[in-house]
């Protein structure tokens, strides 16, 4: 019971446990999988999804959604690739990525919190517009064959097979997690998602908070584009399509509620590792690649349904326990008389 309650409080823990279970199952089928190197590679490979998931986690916490991040990522990846082709610096790419991310985030923020357009619709529209823009920027062509140095950075090992990107992201996650849980303002995102009117009442600006969430989300998506380009070395015009859904799924796996006001960033990160490791694990399990979607789907469903049932059971049994203890208190006091 106590553990269940703990699990309820720290929902990211359940996604972490699930990730371990997933590794173990893969390891059971194919013991070769359970080496340090293989596991670190899974994490190394998850950085793009992790960046996207962390970014969108902010938006989802405030109770909104952003389906334009895949397109933002595709756009900045294309631009990064083009800069790399003319031997530009990674700093230049990051500047572009951050600016574009901020701009798109600000537009989403304005549309959603200022014009009060439902976020799904608004970001859907932005998504379409950005996809068109990618077409214009890339000239309709795959951006590829960029200089080798750039892709080398993308996969440069820092220590013990941990790539630079992974190391940086772990630090970022740690910092953000602390900011969100330990600082007063960090809790604003969750508060706004939990009850916007209540947040307004205690002096939190819902509009500013949502705006900020979208901008942060945009920046993360923009940076994810640079990472994507430097890790994968080619960017086609549909790069990032559907990644928004994977990022959303990662957040949900990590215990962030789509209705807002619940969850934390660690969960999103673990969820992202799960989402990006599946295709890798399937290779080790030696199932035909045709099973890819089926298994991902089954897994996703099992996790979310199991999680929902566990949560519901936890909440319900806590309620019942409290209600029963109330009548029990009566019995204790007047039991002798009856």
């Amino acid at each position: 019971m106590k553990y269940l309650n703990e699990l309820k409080k720290a929902r990211w823990l359940s996604s972490f446990l699930f990730l371990i279970a997933l590794f173990l199952v893969t390891g059971m089928v194919n013991p070769d999988f359970l080496t340090y190197s293989n596991i670190v590679t899974s994490f190394n490979g998850s950085v793009v999804f992790t960046l996207l998931a962390i970014g969108i986690a902010f938006v989802i916490m405030t109770g909104e959604i952003d389906v334009s991040i895949g397109a933002v990522m595709g756009l900045t990846a294309t631009i990064a690739g083009q800069i790399a082709k003319r031997n530009g610096s990674i700093l230049e790419m990051l500047v572009f990525a951050v600016l574009i991310g901020m701009l798109v985030g600000a537009m989403n923020g304005i549309g959603v919190s200022f014009f009060h357009v439902p976020s799904l619709i608004f970001t859907l529209g932005i998504n379409g517009a950005l996809r068109g823009l990618i077409y214009v920027v890339s000239g309709g062509k795959t951006t590829e064959n960029f200089a080798g140095a750039f892709t080398k950075i993308g996969n440069q090992v820092l220590f013990a097979e941990v790539t630079i990107y992974l190391a940086i992201i772990v630090v970022i996650i740690a910092v953000i997690h602390l900011l969100l849980t330990k600082t007063k303002k960090g809790k604003y995102f969750i508060a706004v998602g939990d009850n916007p009117n209540g947040a307004t009442l205690v002096g939190i600006s819902v509009m500013k908070t949502k705006m900020l969430a979208y901008i942060i989300c945009g920046i993360f998506a923009g940076v994810a584009g640079v990472v994507f380009a430097s890790k994968y070395g080619q960017v086609n015009i549909v790069a990032g399509t559907g990644y928004e859904m994977s990022a959303i799924a990662a957040c949900v796996l990590g215990g962030i509620s789509l209705s807002g006001g619940l969850g934390n960033i660690l969960g999103a990160a673990f969820g992202a590792v799960i989402m990006s490791s599946v295709s890798r694990m399937l290779v080790f399990i030696h199932l035909p690649s045709n099973f890819n979607n089926t298994l991902t789907g089954v897994m996703l469903l099992i996790i979310v349904v199991a999680d929902a049932l566990v949560q519901r059971h936890a909440v319900e049994s806590a309620r019942r326990k409290r209600l029963l203890s109330r009548t029990a208190a009566f019995d204790a006091k007047v039991g002798g008389k009856k």
């Binding site: 508060a191 939990d194 307004t200 209600l323 006091k333």
Partner: protein
């Protein structure tokens, strides 16, 4: 009665800039769509004053308060805080000026703990805040686990959390919008103690209520709002209860009081009980026994958390029955689903109107007819919308519900009128038993009178009424018989003759008087 004192009062006392003027509101107007809610409000609050702001449902009290808090912006008018003209563009400005409002509908963060809820938005160090919080909790005399999630709190408990927030803010101007509507006697008394303390400290309080007794018990000044204006204004000592009632109510009140006196006491005769609850146990209550007769109003009184809502909602099929039986006209309905219970002939007006009752953005018709969708009354498959409108219309006329059109969203109605629609829904299925859970919570005196009339009419037509209420006055006035619950058990039953507020209250605290709880 001083119909015109508003102006005089203001002229000689509320010159902005006076050292003790905390808040001064001038000529505030506010229109929603085509609905002019506030038409030039003037109000002054000075240090140590507790102003009772009273007025019917929809008079615009909450709207005015929200403007002061910066949640809404006035269309015109000025606000002076401590003599200084202030643009209250959003709540954080108001907060920084030392204004805090305990809203009418609690606005908590459901996924956060009580502690997080109270401390959200502060910038001081948390250990200090926590210390202060535990002091305030003690001051309020409230026993709560601060780590509980807000979503598990009952409305009353949520209200208490809101009040705690207000106390923590240490505001100089505190607005309490119907803080006691969900509280019981005991909590109300604790709250009053707190308010008196605040007054002593020089804090100015605007206190909105529909309970006129409270006005005399706690406030120093009275302002009555009617038709978007403050019509009556002055120190509470200038008024009698009758003055207030006359200032408030539409002219048809007298007829109603007559009606009420005509009401005959209930005669059980040799009728068979319509509802028999036998040794029923569930989550939150146990070993409950009672019978309900046609044409009887059975009150269920008790403190917050006594398990009344759990009891009645379990009978209504919302939760699991652990043991015991419920029989309706001899038919066993124990543990049936809500739908079946409804078909069998019980209907329920839930306690939490917004969460369990209203379809806020649906039409009045749709709200009235929602319980009829399973039966054949509105057609077998197709929806007979004409019939639906007829039913809605007839109830609206019957209950004197103030509506413009049947297709308007119910969210645009005032609380009292919303409640009438919900009661109409519960009667639309022609039930044998109607369960009313806090039917007059947050509705004004006029609407309350209307609801009481409706209840009496039900009784006359032979419907059995189970009335759950935290308002002892209400139980005393309406019930033919009352049972008292404490910690999930029935601790007393009173017949009409034995019903007095004192007895009810003491029984609500367990065996107070006979066998005081030992802790």
């Amino acid at each position: 009665m001083k119909e015109t004192t508003a102006m005089d009062h203001e002229k000689d006392q509320a010159v902005p800039g006076l050292s003790n003027s905390l808040l001064s509101v001038k000529g505030i107007c506010k229109t929603f769509g085509s609905n002019a809610v506030l038409k030039g409000i003037d109000l002054d609050l000075r240090s140590g004053e507790v102003i009772a702001l009273i007025g019917g449902n929809g008079a615009g009290k909450s709207t005015l308060m929200k403007i002061i808090m910066g949640i809404y912006q006035a269309d015109s008018g000025e606000i002076y805080v401590a003599g200084e003209k202030t643009e209250l563009v959003n709540p954080s400005v108001a907060l920084s000026k030392g204004i805090y409002m305990v809203p009418q509908e609690p606005m908590l963060f459901p996924n956060m703990t009580v502690e997080e809820n109270v401390l959200m938005g502060f910038s001081e160090s948390s250990s200090e805040l926590k210390k202060r919080l535990s002091e305030k909790v003690k001051e309020l005399n409230w026993n709560v686990n601060l780590q509980r999630k807000a979503s598990t709190l009952s409305i009353a408990e949520q209200q208490l959390v809101e009040i705690l927030r207000g106390m923590m803010r240490e505001a100089r101007i505190l607005i309490l919008d119907e803080p006691t509507s969900a509280l019981t006697f005991d909590e109300v008394q604790s709250l009053f103690k707190v308010i008196r303390n605040f007054g002593k400290k020089g804090i100015g309080i605007i206190y909105i209520t529909h309970r006129l007794n409270e006005v005399f018990e706690i406030t120093t000044h009275v302002s009555i709002m009617k038709d978007g204006m403050i019509t009556v204004n002055g120190p509470v000592s200038d008024f009698t209860k009758e003055d207030l009632v006359n200032g408030l109510l539409p002219p048809n009140l007298e007829k109603k009081t007559e009606e009420r006196q005509e009401e005959k006491a209930f005669e059980r005769g040799n009728l068979d009980p319509v509802l028999v609850v036998d040794n029923l146990s569930g989550y939150g209550f146990s070993h409950i026994n009672f019978s309900l007769y046609p044409g009887e109003i059975l009150g269920i009184a008790g403190l917050v958390g006594a398990g009344r809502t759990e009891l009645v909602s379990t009978i209504y099929g919302r939760d699991q029955v652990l043991s015991g039986t419920v029989k309706l006209s001899g038919k066993d309905i124990t543990g049936l689903s809500t739908r079946k219970v409804l078909e069998a002939g019980i209907n329920y007006v839930p306690e939490d109107r917004h969460y369990q009752g209203l379809f806020k953005i649906s039409s009045i018709s749709a709200n009235t007819s929602s319980a009829l969708l399973n039966g054949p009354k509105l057609g077998r498959f197709f929806l007979n919308r004409k019939k639906e409108d007829e039913i809605a219309k007839s109830y609206a006329d019957d209950f004197r519900t103030k509506i413009v059109g049947l297709n308007d969203e119910i969210g645009s109605l005032s609380g009292g009128n919303q409640q009438k629609v919900i009661i109409a829904r519960s009667l639309s299925t022609s039930p044998k038993v109607v369960i009313l859970d806090e039917p007059t919570r947050g509705i004004d005196a006029a609407a309350r009178g209307d609801v009481y009339n409706i209840i009496h009419r039900l009784k006359r037509s032979g419907v059995a009424v189970l009335l759950v209420s935290s308002d002892m006055e209400e139980i005393e006035e309406l019930a033919d018989r009352a049972i008292i619950m404490f910690q999930g058990r029935i601790t007393g039953t009173f017949s009409r003759e034995e019903l007095t507020q004192d007895r009810l209250t003491s029984a609500s605290f367990g065996f107070k008087g006979e066998k005081e709880v030992s802790e």
